[in-house]
Structures are given as structure tokens and as C-alpha cells.
Symmetry: C2
Subunit: 140 residues, 2 copies
Amino acid sequence: MAADQWLTQLQENGYRLTEARRIVVEAVEKSARALTPIEVYDIARKKYRALGLVTVYRTLEKLEELHLIQRVHQPLGCQAFISAGEGHQHLLLCQNCGQVAFFEGDDLDVLTESIAQKTGYQISEHWLQLFGLCANCRAD
Amino acid sequence: MAADQWLTQLQENGYRLTEARRIVVEAVEKSARALTPIEVYDIARKKYRALGLVTVYRTLEKLEELHLIQRVHQPLGCQAFISAGEGHQHLLLCQNCGQVAFFEGDDLDVLTESIAQKTGYQISEHWLQLFGLCANCRAD
DNA sequence: CACTTATTGAAAATGATTTTCATTATCAAA
DNA sequence: TTTGATAATGAAAATCATTTTCAATAAGTG
Ligand SMILES: [Mn+2]
Ligand SMILES: [Mn+2]
Ligand SMILES: [Zn+2]
Ligand SMILES: [Zn+2]
């Protein structure tokens, strides 16, 4: 999904289109790796010097609310965001450069059914995330 | 693994045994749900009034370093800890009361191999976590 | 253009975690 | 058992991320 569509989504949900939002959206949407609020701020401010960090926080909040971005949990921290996958997808992260790839097709039904049996839990959700080295980083 | 063994581990790694550590270890080891530093503090202080929050942080840090506890990531926050599973295990969390169950026996080899093929990543780790309702909370 | 009000950025407030430091407690060695 | 080196402690201060407050500004509707 392109940056323009994110802006349209914002507008359709009653939010105004502002320069600050345009720049933040562009920075996040373009990125192949998860970005923290400060990282977004630093990148975005290169195009729009007057931008405030508060506005980055507020914009990320709205993008998350509209499911356009998602929070990424990593061993070193859980404050970074990446554009959300479409449908049921999970993340694969490069431990060296942070590059994110999405994947789908995991089938945990047999497993969850078995665990449900053993534990007595009613299982309704799962988090799955893979870590490794991207093609580029493998080369080094 | 019992609290005594955690204390032994601490000692064997050159850390001294103190009253503060004993109390913190007991609180964390006993708990069936993940606890934040403040929660540990509140629980532990019932047995040892003079305990400082700083000491809770420092003790949790050491327990994590020795792999006796592990951080638990949840939608509402990622600062809670629970005793670490033994061997290759994953967590199943009750979305209502927070009760934690461990499970093992997931086999993601076929999946990761296939994803590795498609993406070019060399996959070395995975995070898997299940969410649902524990038997008690289902009853309500 | 005019008007309503959502949005903005600066500054202050908050909350969690870390650092500093003087005091105390642990434990190995005498 | 006593002694001594030093690891560990808790209070207070410092730091860092995030949220709130607020007056000024800009977006979008009519
Ligand atoms: Mn899945
Ligand atoms: Mn596994
Ligand atoms: Zn990489
Ligand atoms: Zn429950």
C-alpha cells in the first residue's frame, strides 16, 4: 500500500491532511525496517525542519489505530513500527540490518489444538516471528 | 526449578546472597503470571519493608542474565518477567488473568525451510506465543 | 473569503529506568 | 571468631521516553 493511500485513509477517517502527516507517513511507509519514533523524527525532519517529535508520536498513534502500521517487538526494544502486513502475515527480521520481510502460510491449527487439549486453555491468537540474516547480510 | 536453586545459581556466579535477593527471588519464582518490576516490588515489600525498587531492577537484571527468568511481551507492555522455561518452550498466556502456561513440541522446520527458500533469509530463531483463556477464566 | 475547530510545536509534566554515592552487609581469609 | 575487602543496598538525583497542556496556526467546509 502506498503513502497516498495512507493519507486517503487518514482523511476518510476524519483526520486532516497536513504537511507534518504527509512527511511522517512517507518516512514510515518507505522504510524496509522498523523505525522508532525518534528515528522517524530524524528522517522526517530532513524534509520538514519544523516538525515536532510530539507530532510523530501522534501520527504513529493514528496510523496504528487504522492498522496501517504495527509495532515490532525485538530483543532490544519494542517501540519500533513498520507498515502493517495485509491479511494474516508474520514478520521475519534480519538480526544484522533490521530488514523486515513478511511471510504467510503458517499453519498452527494442529499445534494449537493439541496445546488446548493439554492445557485446558481456549486459544484464540498467536504471535509468530522469525529471526535470521537477510540475503545481503549473509554475503558479508 | 525452585527458589533455592535460583539462589544457588546466583551464588555460583559470584553474587552474594542477601535478604533482598532472597525475597525478590521468592516473589518471582512463585508467580504463575508475569510480573513487572513494580509488581515484584509491591509483593516483595510485604515480606521485607526496607526493600528498594532499585534492588528489584538489579536483581531482575541478574536473573535474566542467568536465564532464570525471561521477559514477556504482551500487547499492553513488555516489561514483565516470568521464570524461564526449561529447554525449548514457548508461552501460552491467559488474556484475562495473565496466567502463564508453557508448552513445547512445536515443529516449525518445514515452515522455516520454506520461508528461507522464498525470502533468501537464513533463519536461526523464532518467537512463538499463544494467547487465549485459561480453564478458570473460561468458566466465567 | 470567513469561520469553526483539528492540528501543531514548545514547554512542562509524568513515569519508568538508570546512575551516583555514602552506608551496610556478605563472605573469604586470617 | 574477628577482620577486612568489596559487593550490595536504598535514597536521591539524573536521565530518557512518552504524554499533557496550551496558545498559535492551518485545514477544510460553506
Ligand atoms: Mn499465523
Ligand atoms: Mn519453538
Ligand atoms: Zn540484513
Ligand atoms: Zn485466566
